[in-house]
Amino acid sequence: MSIASKLKEAMVGLKAGCVTLDYPAQPRPVAENFRGRPIFDAQKCIGCAGCANNCPAREILVLDVCQEIRILKYLGRRCTYCGRCAEVCPEKAITMSHEYETATNRIGDLRQRLELFMSTCQRCGRCFKESSPLEQLKLKGYRFDDLENERWIFRSRSYLESEPVVEDIQIELD
């Protein structure tokens, strides 16, 4: 190790300069196509729930509290910022912002909640698939037998397992 090589090393060190970013003091802009936190525009949202159907992390929840009000919740905990909700939104109500400084000490700070008025479908009353066959019958226009309690009354007792089935045949024969 000669002094010349030491000097050369010092020159290289001086030429390199300082590359460290002064980040929390200075803002750091992101690229144009960067996808940050999705922002929901409540004025444009029509409540179609397409974003909830397409979210791979199941992080957008849709709740119907009554016939007219639909609540759309974005929780944002495990959101991967994939942008599928923004892509599928027919009204372009979701935009992927450039916001990435989302560190927080309460996980609830990431939540966005929209409470929207929904129209009622003239034919089915509610535009989503009902689970049970009885509910599907109700959608097709069949009425309840017992209107006050909203229940069907069956003549056959074969639905009750404890009752003997033999008598039901008798009823049908009658």
Binding site: V19, T20, L21, Y23, P24, R28, V30, R37, F40, A42, P56, A57, R58, E59, L75, G76, R77, R78, C79, T80, Y81, E99, Y100, E101, T102, A103, T104, N105, R106, I107, G108, D109, L110, R111, Q112, R113, L114, E115, L116, F117
Partner: protein, 178 residues
């Protein structure tokens, strides 16, 4: 209160332990990126240590898995008090994409208490530095919950006062206002 405690207890430097309990290695790379000369976090006194017994802060990546939840809890118990836990990435904050599968128990807060959340998949190195800066009180957090409630049914209507002549015709059209 937590902020005051942080400033009092962790005023000088934070030694961080880096625990991956089943993540995909994306957040690990971002955490290592934070230690590179570009985002040099050693200027805040943050140092990566190899053992939880030396650490003040645990950086959790990945969800709490069925196989690693116990080890994560042991690592947390081995850290001397006072201790902070940072959940880094969408998996540690909320369970990740596979939050409902057999092997994944859920977010790490199901196993250990979490003090700070840094969501993202993976979070940018700046986001991690921002989380550390929030914890040490250098900057304030930017996010807040958003709640919106419609008070009126938003139907565009016909307004008779908006009749307007257009050539020989009178136009009566639906307008966007309520």
């Amino acid at each position: 209160m937590l902020k005051n405690l942080c400033q009092k207890m962790f005023g000088r430097s934070l030694w961080v332990y880096h625990a991956n309990s089943g993540g995909c290695n994306g957040c690990d790379i971002e955490v290592l990126n934070v230690l590179t000369p570009y985002y040099d976090v050693e200027r805040f006194g943050i140092k990566l240590v190899g053992s939880p017994r030396h650490a003040d802060v645990m950086l959790c990546q990945g969800p709490a898995m069925r196989a690693t939840a116990r080890a994560l809890r042991c690592a947390y118990d081995a850290m001397p008090s006072p201790k902070l836990v940072f959940a880094i990435g969408g998996c540690a904050c909320g369970g990740g994409i596979w939050h409902d599968t057999y092997a994944v128990l859920g977010p790490v807060e199901k196993v250990i208490p979490v003090n700070f959340y840094i969501p993202g998949c993976p979070p940018r190195p700046e986001a991690i530095i921002y989380g550390v800066a929030v914890a040490t009180g250098l900057v304030d957090k930017k996010v807040a919950p958003v709640e919106f409630k419609q008070l009126e049914m938003p139907i565009p209507r016909y307004h008779p006062e908006d009749l307007r002549g257009q050539g020989e015709m009178v136009v009566y059209e639906k307008v966007e206002k309520l």
